[in-house]
């Protein structure tokens, strides 16, 4: 526990400046994307294996909690992609390492410029949808409803 705290504190205190901050942002965005990716891949596979469960989950993902998380994932993917390309270029072109600081700042500015309109658009779309839905926007769908509908569908096929 102490070593974890020291790691966390020193990770933030270590003064690598821009390179250090992009390293932290790259790690955190990567872990965030992976967390969502695993959930998303196994969930989407259910469209084939358990359609009732899948249909429930995509309605659950319309809940404000996930809608805001979706915007966060968009930010993480954009930053991680741009900074990853920067890392790759510097790895294969070490003589450009002298630009590492300016490239880190460039990537951050590029990210802000591209994410700002996208993030605002996504949030605006969510607000419209949620206002239209009213209280239903905050409702958590019941998985049993979807299971029942799937059984009903299987019956119509069998009958």
């Amino acid at each position: 526990m102490t070593s974890l705290l020291i790691t966390l504190r020193e990770s933030i205190r270590y003064r690598g400046r821009s390179g250090h901050y992009s390293w932290i942002a790259h790690r955190l965005s990567g872990l965030a994307i992976l967390g969502f990716l695993v959930l998303h891949v196994w969930d989407t596979a259910n469209a084939n294996y358990a359609p009732g469960l899948y249909a429930w989950s995509i309605d659950l993902f319309k809940h404000p909690f996930f809608a805001v998380g979706e915007i966060g994932i968009m930010a993480a993917v954009l930053y991680h992609a741009f900074n990853g390309i920067r890392i790759t270029i510097l790895d294969f072109k070490p003589e450009w390492w002298k630009y590492q600081r300016s490239s880190a700042i460039f990537v951050f500015i590029l990210f802000v410029v591209l994410f700002a309109p996208i993030g605002i658009y996504m949030f605006d779309e969510f607000l419209h949808r949620c206002t239209e839905a009213g209280a239903a926007c905050w409702k958590i769908p019941r998985v049993s409803d979807y299971r029942e509908a799937y059984r009903l569908y299987l019956d119509t096929r069998g009958g």
Binding site: G30, A45, A47, P51, K62, A67, M74, I85, A133, Y153
Partner: protein, 144 residues
């Protein structure tokens, strides 16, 4: 005699081990994912929206082999890139090989199982059946 302005060239022997290929894989899959993953985010989350996502939409999209191929590549590159990234992060903090070895085996199996499970789903998904289910579902569940 070397002068200060002369460039010093240092050749480094590159071992041909798994670590080297994992390193190269992260770079090349990263470039592929710039197109695949950022493209996926733009198409599915900006041009389309998860706010009106239904199983009907999945059925329409996976009715085309082009989309199935796109998603298959995205699946393989994203899962392998992401889980290998997690291994890199863990190796920075866990220095005990006895703990790290089983974790690496688990992560390797996890990559293979995830890609197989989801890959089979992408390949065998039946669009016609999903459309039929969507019809029943939209009548049964309000507001769907």
């Amino acid at each position: 005699m070397a002068t200060l302005s002369e460039k010093t060239v240092r050749t480094v022997e590159q071992p041909r081990n798994l670590e080297r290929y994992a390193y190269l894989f992260m770079r090349f899959s990263g470039i592929a994912l710039l197109i695949l993953a950022v493209g996926h985010m733009m198409i599915q989350h900006v041009l389309n929206s998860s706010g009106n996502l239904t199983i009907q939409f999945v059925a329409d999209q996976w009715n085309s082999w082009g989309w199935r191929t796109y998603d298959m590549f995205l699946l393989i590159f994203a899962v392998a890139h992401g889980v290998n990234g997690l291994r890199n992060v863990l190796e920075d903090y866990i220095h005990n090989d006895k703990i790290m070895a089983p974790i690496k085996i688990f992560l390797g199996i996890f990559i293979v199982v995830t890609i197989l499970w989801a890959g089979v789903a992408i390949a065998t998904f039946d669009s016609a059946q999903a459309r039929e289910f969507h019809k029943v579902l939209s009548e049964a569940v309000q507001g769907n």
